[in-house]
């Protein structure tokens, strides 16, 4: 497969051939997996295999995996379930760089339950240090919710350190691993979290299906009530075709983890080297240390222009798709990425920030075309504004 010009893998990824094949197969597996008759057997087997594949990808047991409809559902559920048993004054502690499915959800939940919400800030590299989370934890805490890798900058957060804080205070920790899973090795045991959400479409599975890891399913509250599917924790007739796709995507992500990451790292370097060789001035928004960033993500600012115009040139002249901050937020009336704002970037960096994210189907030719288009676009726009 080629996907010329697609540099928005962090928004969503295309289905892999293996995923498509599995989904086509699952189109014929139609019986209700909860039914008692033999015709339901294949559907049940499909679910069991999917649970195993997802568990394997994140070092969990299949009994700890519950299928959801997306990362958003997982994050909302995690917050609600964790707050369900907590005293009314206990706070939700999260960070300023979370996806809105956590940050806005936490604010809404805090408001409806009269619960404080404390938000830890990142440093200018986009990493929220564990001590910032500790400082945000004054008073009783109901839940910690921290992402593993940021969708906009790729910055990997010190989740295991934050887990220690949570453990010391006997407070549950939720991890939004939607951007991390499939792109870097994830072990729920090494992270030490109580629950973790992931979403299939970020690693070549279908959109609209995800999974939640729950360490102790026996003490976790459902967000919806119904017919008892997923052992009552997530009722609703199972999205068999989507789950089949997620299953194949999880198996593939695990098998291809190392080569994919290596290719991404190479491509990342090739973009940076290319821009430098062409003499394009830019700054990187995110960690300088390669070990602390998703290998497929580059968030760059080009002073002297508005990124929206650059993105439009790339899109309409070269058919190149990049993102301005989180793709999900373009629906909204919001001017700057809340992540970059929280990092304290100056206005000129904020308005000129572009997210370039790539992956499995990105070729070196794609990268080279991107670099040329960026160099050309930046020069053109700087000239239009008289800044060149």
């Amino acid at each position: 497969m080629t996907l010329k010009g697609y540099f928005d893998y962090n928004a969503t990824t295309p289905l892999s051939d293996a995923v498509k094949a599995e989904m086509r197969h699952a189109m014929e597996v139609f019986a209700n997996p909860s039914a008692a008759y033999p015709a339901a057997g294949p559907a049940r087997a499909l679910l069991a295999q999917a649970r195993q594949n997802v568990a394997d990808l994140i070092d969990a047991a299949p009994e700890q995996i519950f299928f959801t409809s997306c990362g958003t559902e997982g994050n909302n559920w995690a917050l609600q379930a964790s707050c369900a048993g907590a005293p009314g004054e206990a706070a939700i502690v999260t960070t300023a760089i979370e996806h809105d499915a956590t940050l806005a959800a936490a604010r809404a939940l805090g408001q409806s339950q009269g619960r404080p919400v404390h938000v830890a800030l990142p440093q200018s590299d986009g990493i929220v240090r564990a001590d910032a989370v500790a400082r945000a934890s004054a008073g009783p805490v109901a839940v910690y919710s921290v992402m593993l890798a940021n969708n906009e900058t790729g910055a990997i957060q010190p989740v295991a350190e934050i887990a220690e804080i949570a453990r010391d205070r006997a407070v549950p920790l939720h991890v939004d691993a939607v951007q991390a899973v499939g792109k870097m090795p994830v072990s729920v045991r090494a992270l030490g979290c109580d629950c973790l959400s992931l979403s299939g479409h970020k690693f070549h599975g279908p959109k609209g299906v995800g999974a939640m890891y729950v360490r102790d399913p026996g003490t976790f509250a459902p967000m919806m009530i119904g017919g008892g599917q997923e052992r009552g924790l997530r009722p609703g007739t199972e999205n068999l075709i989507g789950i089949a796709g997620l299953s194949a995507a999880a198996a593939e992500a695990r098998a291809l983890m190392d080569p994919n990451a290596a290719r991404n790292r190479e491509n990342r370097k090739r973009i940076l080297d290319g821009l430098r060789r062409q003499g394009v001035a830019f700054s990187i928004n995110g960690p300088a240390d390669d070990a602390r960033i998703l290998p497929n993500t580059l968030n760059l600012s080009f002073d002297g222009l508005r990124a929206e115009a650059l993105a439009m040139r790339l899109a309409h002249l070269q058919g190149i798709a990049v993102s301005l901050g989180s793709a999900c937020s373009t629906n909204k009336d919001r001017r700057h990425s809340h992540v970059l704002v929280a990092m304290g970037l100056p206005e000129a960096r904020l308005v000129s920030a572009l997210r370039i994210s790539f992956g499995r189907y990105t070729s070196q030719a794609d990268i080279d075309a991107l670099v040329r288009a960026l160099a050309d676009g930046v020069a053109h726009l700087r000239q239009l504004s008289g800044a060149a």
């Binding site: 040139r313 309409h316 001017r335 504004s385 800044a387």
Partner: protein, 120 residues
Amino acid sequence: MFSDLIVDNFTSPTHAGEIDAPVLVLENKDPVCGDQIRIGLAVENGQITSARFRAWGCATSMATANILCKWLEGRGVQDCAEASAEEISALLGQLSPEQRHCQHIAQNLVRQLAAQEAWP
């Protein structure tokens, strides 16, 4: 999301640049989003003979600058100054809500023509 008019004027601007010693300079900046357009005009006998822009901002505002320059060039200053707000908005074609600030920039720019006391 973007009309062909906006895409064309943005991707292939025909009137970008500067005019040596412009007779008139129209300049406007949107206070909210920060988009900025400056248009320099050469005028002879009340006719705009040349219009060139510099712009910083989103694609639509840059397209707006180019569209305005094309429209201004060859027109009488007086005629342009008398154009209604609707007429000027219409130059930009159909816009989605987040593009509409460009109508105001365009109107503000043209309004500056009317504010000029005299021109050559």
